[in-house]
């Protein structure tokens, strides 16, 4: 078969899966949050509220699509599509299993030598969606949301980059498949400390990059209505929501891939069923599920940062800690490696 055709088929399958998971993540999130707050949550549509996403989808398609008359039409229209397109494409470089494990095909869309940089590049273009959407709406609150999001994303990209640098120095490659195959924790026990620190700084920066609580200032509803989303309705609003959840999934997948062995399972399961730790998909999905739960848990637990706290935390603490971890890892590699 034509390799291009196979790649296209895999990409289509991945997009549909991500969007399907998005639909159910909205229900799961609302149910978990409800449980944490002693409420019931959506449980009317279908058994356990399982048909809720379908009802929501029909609702958002048939709702009136309001276009602000003073909006910059073209950019207002393009912004949600930029968001969702780049959110979906960022996921393509993440490997989900050993080579040839997807019915004889490789379980990834692209095996790039610059894999991690590709993910960073795609997400950094995705920022334009939020940024331009808020500006094109021609509204104070939306513009404030946009400005907040761009300042936040640029600030936390530093922490993210330096945390990733620790892993890259240890692995010696940017290829996500090779990073998983190497397992960065097995290189040297001396590197466990910088790796552990980098894991936490990466996770925190990742949450900030996907605008989740406690970093959800771009859409802080008590202060600026809904930030960049204020003037969006109907399907365009839904596209922004999709992009946010897909970005969350990408963040979860990247953290798992860089720090927790990606698609590989823990070694001890091989004692029960030989070869179980090499099974494709399930381990990555399990790890992503844990992180998704963590994101929801944090939303149910933590209050939002104040704006100056957000900036101080990003520039004064997170960045320096991530930089320190990277320096420590470098020193260990040079002097003890």
């Amino acid at each position: 078969m034509d390799p291009l055709l196979i790649t296209l088929a895999k990409a289509l399958l991945l997009c549909l899966t991500l969007l399907g998971v998005f639909a159910y993540m909205t229900v799961i999130e609302r149910r978990i949050l409800a449980r944490m707050q002693h409420r019931l949550g959506p449980n009317r549509v279908g058994p356990f509220g399982l048909l809720q996403p379908i009802a929501d989808a029909i609702k958002s398609i048939f709702k009136e699509d309001i276009v602000v008359s003073a909006a910059d039409r073209l950019i207002y229209f393009l912004a949600p599509f930029i968001s969702i397109t780049f959110a979906l494409s960022a996921f393509g470089a993440i490997p989900a299993g050993p080579a040839g494990s997807l019915f004889g095909f490789d379980p990834w869309i692209m095996d790039l030598d610059i894999g991690l940089l590709y993910v960073f590049a795609a997400t950094s273009i995705g920022v334009y969606g939020i940024f331009l959407g808020g500006w094109a709406s021609n509204s104070k609150y939306a513009l404030l949301g946009s400005l907040r999001s761009s300042a936040q994303l640029i600030s936390y990209e530093l922490g993210l980059g330096f945390s990733a640098l620790t892993v890259l120095m240890i692995a010696g490659t940017l290829n996500l498949r090779e990073i998983v195959e190497l397992n960065v924790w097995s290189v040297s026990p001396l590197l466990w400390l910088p790796l552990a620190v980098a894991f936490f700084t990466f996770l925190i920066s990742g949450i900030a990059e996907v605008n989740r609580t406690p970093f959800d200032l771009p859409e802080a509803e008590q202060e600026i209505v809904a930030g960049y989303l204020t003037e969006y309705s109907s399907i365009k609003w839904a596209l922004f929501q999709m992009a946010e959840y897909v970005n969350m999934m990408t963040a979860a997948a990247v953290v798992s891939t860089l720090f927790l062995g990606g698609w590989r399972g823990p070694g001890f399961v091989d004692a029960f069923i030989p070869g179980m730790s090499e099974w494709p998909f399930i381990w990555l999905i399990l790890k992503m599920a844990i992180f998704m739960f963590l994101f929801i848990w944090l939303r149910g637990t933590l209050p939002r940062f104040r704006y100056d706290q957000l900036m101080r935390f990003g520039w004064v603490y997170l960045f320096e800690i991530a930089l320190g971890a990277a320096l420590l890892a470098g020193a260990v590699i040079v002097f003890a490696g």
Partner: protein, 183 residues
């Protein structure tokens, strides 16, 4: 070649948009488009690392900052008052001369493209290593100097802002004492 021609046309249209569009945000977006097309061109040349860096640094960081400033100051597409009336015709002349110079060089001394096999071996799949190899050996001095240059720029920017803040604070303090004296 067809791919390159399409990309070249998109890039030129984008570049013309940067200088002709009235609305600053549109102009900045045209520049983003140009930079992204350039990144795609790098991908077609198998220079993946360069393409990724092009997107992350230029489109992802620098242009976001440009747009941030444009939006923060809420600059609209207003034409500045013509202080320098003689400037416009001069600018046209300079542009025409420069375009003519480039065109003459391009057509008088046409250069053939380097052999694709040769490029592929030099780039080794467009990864990080071939670039790092030369950057940290042959061009180490230049690389370090660029670092110093950037640091100088940052220090300059900080000192400019700092002076302004101090001046404002002193002015405020003066105002406060005067108010006190007045009372």
């Amino acid at each position: 070649m067809a791919t390159f021609l399409i990309l070249a046309v998109v890039m030129i249209v984008g570049a013309v948009g940067v200088i002709t569009l009235k609305q600053p945000v549109h102009a900045a977006l045209a520049l983003v488009g140009t930079l992204l097309t350039l990144a795609v061109t790098y991908v077609t040349l198998e220079a993946h690392f360069l393409a990724a860096i092009q997107v992350i640094v230029y489109a992802g960081a620098i242009m976001v900052l440009f747009l941030f400033v444009i939006m923060l100051l809420n600059i609209q597409g207003e034409t500045p008052p013509a202080v320098l009336a003689w400037f416009r015709p001069l600018a046209y002349i300079v542009a025409v001369v420069a375009a003519a110079a480039i065109a003459t060089t391009a057509f008088m001394e046409p250069r053939s493209l380097p052999d694709e096999v040769q490029i592929a071996t030099a780039l080794q799949g467009g990864g990080v290593e071939p670039i790092a190899d030369v950057l940290f050996s042959d061009f180490l001095l230049a690389f370090q100097l660029v670092g110093v240059l950037l640091l100088t720029g940052i220090i300059g920017a900080v000192s400019l802002v700092q002076r302004k803040v101090v001046a404002v604070q002193e002015a405020r303090a003066d105002g406060a004492t005067k108010e006190l004296e007045h009372a």
